[in-house]
Symmetry: C3
Subunit: 474 residues, 3 copies
């Protein structure tokens, strides 16, 4: 990995970028939103093998290989209903899958996956990068050997990666046993949870009614009444906060919000609940309920201080047959055009002027950056812009985020970087890419005499460290 | 301010940009669309103080500070209904507000406001830039002292700024007394008006019915009939043209146009008028009426030669509670996705092939540049593209405008720069930024051997001076 | 023409771009989609004159001149109903029209038309570029003189241009006589057809019913029944494949697809057919029928192997009066916002996981690149991204395509360049521009240490040659 990677090619600008980057390179990692498994840090067991660590759980990798004609089965992803064993086929050897990845590694040219994986191979495992058919066996063995060493256990890596705080994401129905175990263990690593109530907020989630019943059990509240349902949320939020949570997160199909009267909300809840019992909530009711719940969550945030994150606009499980066979999260989630100006208005008109509230909004629709999101965040005190998300947390995507939001919203209505990943090993690489791109953007401002270098340095450090800590109250 | 600011960092390209810029730097300023106060030039009184000059009227400044938790009251913006005095509070000292701006000046890093304000401080007031907590009092005193000098009166600055013509924007109900006074004064500065009939065209404007009545008084036409209403417009347009106007301007929520038959239009007008009397015009009727009026305005333009400007796509007063307390124009205007292809078709099919007509269309939705606006302007003889507007008249925004429109519409279907501002002191800075960015874009074309430098120079001079004069018939 | 044109200005990056480009510069041209006239290659007659060769058929040229006030008549484009002779006017001399082009050549500054025409003038005709009023007569004479030489006949140029394969586009009603003549002639140039069934698929095409009748005659199938209609398509596809076709192409107003049951499809077909007889197909039925036919075409592609191209999103003949007088393709086609995620889902859910199928999708709505198209192509095995299209096959447009699709879809889910042109003489220039821009993009990746130069070279060669051959099965 070249030390100047991702810096602008012009030598003068590159020198500025290098200086800015050197002042943020070693700052601790703040990871306020992501999807790592807390069990890793609770149990601190060795990771099993290169494939189940680096390939299978990384939907960026799986989707690209699938798009080029490899089947999920040959990548070691078994159909849900028919595990390999039950189907009478022997499970694939990780080594064989690794060789497939190596043979198709060229597909990742020009993608962030290539940057992240090269970094994991070279910086974490000190093996050869890029992966090739020729070195596939050698790199496999090397990684496998390393994984058996104590220095490659989850907690050791957490410390080696310089992570100051890492948030995972859990359902209100989760008992947070792993988080409790981490706290009880005496280990100093700060792993916290975040409250993601989609399974008990979105009436279109499979098993919605059963999940409300489970929520009732956990909270001793009557979740069959609107009041009891809200009280149950309050209790679980308090429990999550106790386990370190400083934020909630909401992954809705749209950014729609609503501000119904208490009576209207109650009646909507009752209609949704009745329909959920029979498995057929009207689409408009489901959408209205999700919309109202964002406003309810904001109201609770004003009380308990949790930061509210909205991740809208993904058409989940677009590929119906693949979803039916393999379940969710296998690459069939596709961004859609997303309205914010009309959609967020009920919430913003209710709570957008509250200085004590923080709402962080994300987008998969880059056309909204300059048109809607920067103007909204550059006005409403409660609203901040989440960083470039998902398909867009790439060098070009991160750069477009800055180019298209800064002039209207400034830097200080943004909240630093989120890695948002399951791929634990790539976390430092992802933060490093974000820091490099931010420094590249700032270096251009400096080179074009739009910002003095000392001020650019202050901004770089704020983006890398201070802003995420402050925005997420960490 | 560095002399090479906003030029590309690559030394070869920068040298080209510098040469191009040197050939346009000192050209007179053509400001064919903006919102300065004609009273300034009529009365030529000194400006009062730094805050009421540079902060309060600049919604870019106010919105950013508000977004970061400062209240409008502490910025010296009083609630409409309750002036500070009436509320029993002493008005804030301008100096105290100036200190607040200084303490938060870092928020503007990376924004065009920073560039404009730095320029006003250093080039106009010859004081320190950037503003800091440390120099806040010194800069305040320096500016206040300067404002008392004759050289800082409106007319002197107009001349010092090299403004050849400056258009303001007035309602048909305005008596244009200030413009008359300017003309009567013998002063040579060319300050002209523009006809902005929204208050008597948009049935959703508060007080619409009363405004039509006032229009009737001013014109001795019966504005309760469709024919009289149109005649009243014709008379006021003629009066505005006499006061120098060469254009009309229309700030509609959408770009929708209509081409109804005379009978349909009349019947729509009657329905709107009846409903306006009772305060409840149907939204669809209001939209249809605005749509039809754009076509009526184009028809009148064919007679009187006024250039028709359309500024669509802003959701005005998005922040309801702020609007209720402080009125319009305090930062709560948010861009929305805007259709042009379907919306403009009735107008373009009626008058788009007229070579004698000029329609200038603007957008807040940058996704329309390459998809809709450049293809439309690259085809219809009557249609020209207005420059990057509002949130987008920034270095990155101006560059995106060129990058996304030039290849399809060319340079000659665009009309140069508009400053579109209330902030008189920043006008030279805004035009300078636009000239620098255009030269930076052209320099890249030259450096990449896409255009010879002599031709690029011709283009640069056309964009800075000849095209706006020609497009706006100045 | 400067040898480094379109390469990045930074000297280090430019050197990389130059090396990459030198490895692809001389590769044969693969032109898998375009609109040249097969008659040229069948008859190999000399082209007539500079204007009918370079100006009249190039809608990029005509639309720009028209947008700036030149009439179509003075550009030598006669109204359809009233040929110049019949109207009693003498046809315009080509030389007079050429002088008009020369006098307005400055309008094309910054557009790809300028690059292409300069190249044709200097590289093909070895005359002066740019065209000016001063050299108009000289260049006209020079070109006219050259056109009379054997080296400037269609086949000689085809060979001189290094074209390996050139696809034209024909209706199922075409007898492909020119293609048959080319094959019978013994000439080795590979000119193939492509199956564009819009006239017999889109019920809103003028003459739809008559065209179905003609299709029946050609195939001896009863196109008044759903089964016979589909069988007729199968027969014509087979005939086209015999004449070299490897693809079909579909130019629909939207990307909508449908997956109806056989019974529903049949009933829709019958409804459409009945209404077409009376000239009034319901808009919703027309849209549904086009949507269903894309899925039917994909089903046939699984049998006969033809690649399916979808070119959606153009509002054809937006300028109604111009269309009425001059017919289609005179510049009044305007892009519209285009949905892909919902629109393509029925087709993708039916056939998107088929590895044996290739669907190539294009867009005129660049906002869909990163939001919809790259995520879809980066997932579905059957789906590939067509290159930047129409208004966007320009330097900036081609660059945005790479910048906005590569990180999610990679390079290998794209299919190289299409020239998509009627302007035969510009084909090498267009491919050259695409190769230069791809190399410029790759050079930046190399300079920023995102991709090693040897791998970038492999990608450059794939984009220029291997990928189009493979994707289009050539």
């Amino acid at each position: 990995m070249h030390p100047d990677r991702l810096f602008p090619a012009d030598p003068g600008t590159r020198a500025i970028a290098r200086r800015l980057y050197n002042s943020v390179r070693a700052l601790p990692i703040i990871s306020p939103h992501g999807h790592t498994d807390p069990r890793w840090f609770a149990e601190d067991a060795p990771f099993s093998d290169p494939v189940s660590l680096l390939l299978t759980p990384d939907h960026y990798v799986v989707r690209m290989l699938y798009s080029q004609g490899l089947s999920l089965e040959e990548l070691g992803v078994p159909p849900q209903a028919v595990p390999a064993a039950a189907a009478g086929r022997p499970p694939l050897e990780p080594r064989a899958i690794w060789r497939k990845l190596a043979a198709h590694y060229y597909l990742f040219r020009g993608t962030p996956t290539r940057l992240w994986l090269d970094w994991v191979l070279s910086a974490v495992f000190e093996t050869e990068a890029p992966l090739t058919a020729a070195n596939a066996d050698r790199t496999f063995d090397r990684i496998a050997e390393r994984l058996s060493q104590p220095a490659f256990r989850p907690r050791a890596l957490f410390e080696r990666f310089g992570i100051e705080v890492l948030a995972t994401t859990e359902s209100p129905l989760d008992d947070l046993a792993h988080h409790a175990a981490i706290r009880a263990s005496g280990w100093k690593g700060r792993v916290i949870t975040a409250y993601r109530p989609d399974p008990v907020v979105d009436p279109e989630t499979p098993g919605f009614a059963a999940q409300l019943a489970r929520l009732a059990e956990l909270t001793s509240e009557d979740t069959a009444t609107w009041g009891g349902y809200l009280a149950a949320h309050r209790k679980r939020r308090a429990f999550f906060a106790q386990m370190g949570a400083t934020s909630t997160d909401h992954g809705h199909p749209t950014a729609r919000t609503a501000d119904l009267s208490a009576r209207e909300a109650e009646s909507l809840f009752e209609r949704v609940l009745r329909a959920a019992g029979t498995g057929a909530v009207a689409a408009a009711d489901a959408e209205a309920f999700r919309a109202q719940m964002l406003t309810e969550m904001a109201r609770m945030s004003l009380d308990d201080g949790l930061v509210l994150q909205i991740h809208p606009g993904s058409w989940r499980n677009h590929n119906a047959s693949l979803h039916a066979r393999f379940g969710p999260n296998i690459g069939g989630d596709i961004p859609t055009p997303t309205d914010y100006v009309g959609a967020l208005r009920p919430l913003l008109n209710r709570f957008g002027n509250e200085r004590a509230l923080t709402i962080i909004v994300f987008t998969l629709d880059e056309s909204a950056y300059s048109r809607e999101l920067a103007p909204l965040a550059g006005h409403y005190p409660a609203l901040k812009l989440g960083p470039a998300w998902w398909f867009h947390d790439s060098p070009e995507g991160l750069m477009r985020f800055r180019e298209q939001t800064t002039e209207t919203a400034g830097f200080y209505n943004t909240v630093g970087f989120n890695d948002d990943t399951r791929a634990f090993f790539s976390i430092p690489a992802r933060h490093d890419v974000a820091r490099r791109v931010d420094c590249a953007y700032l270096a251009r401002l400096v080179a074009e005499h739009r910002l003095p270098e000392d001020e650019a340095g202050e901004v770089a450090r704020a983006l890398a460290y201070a802003l995420p800590k402050q925005a997420y109250k960490l």
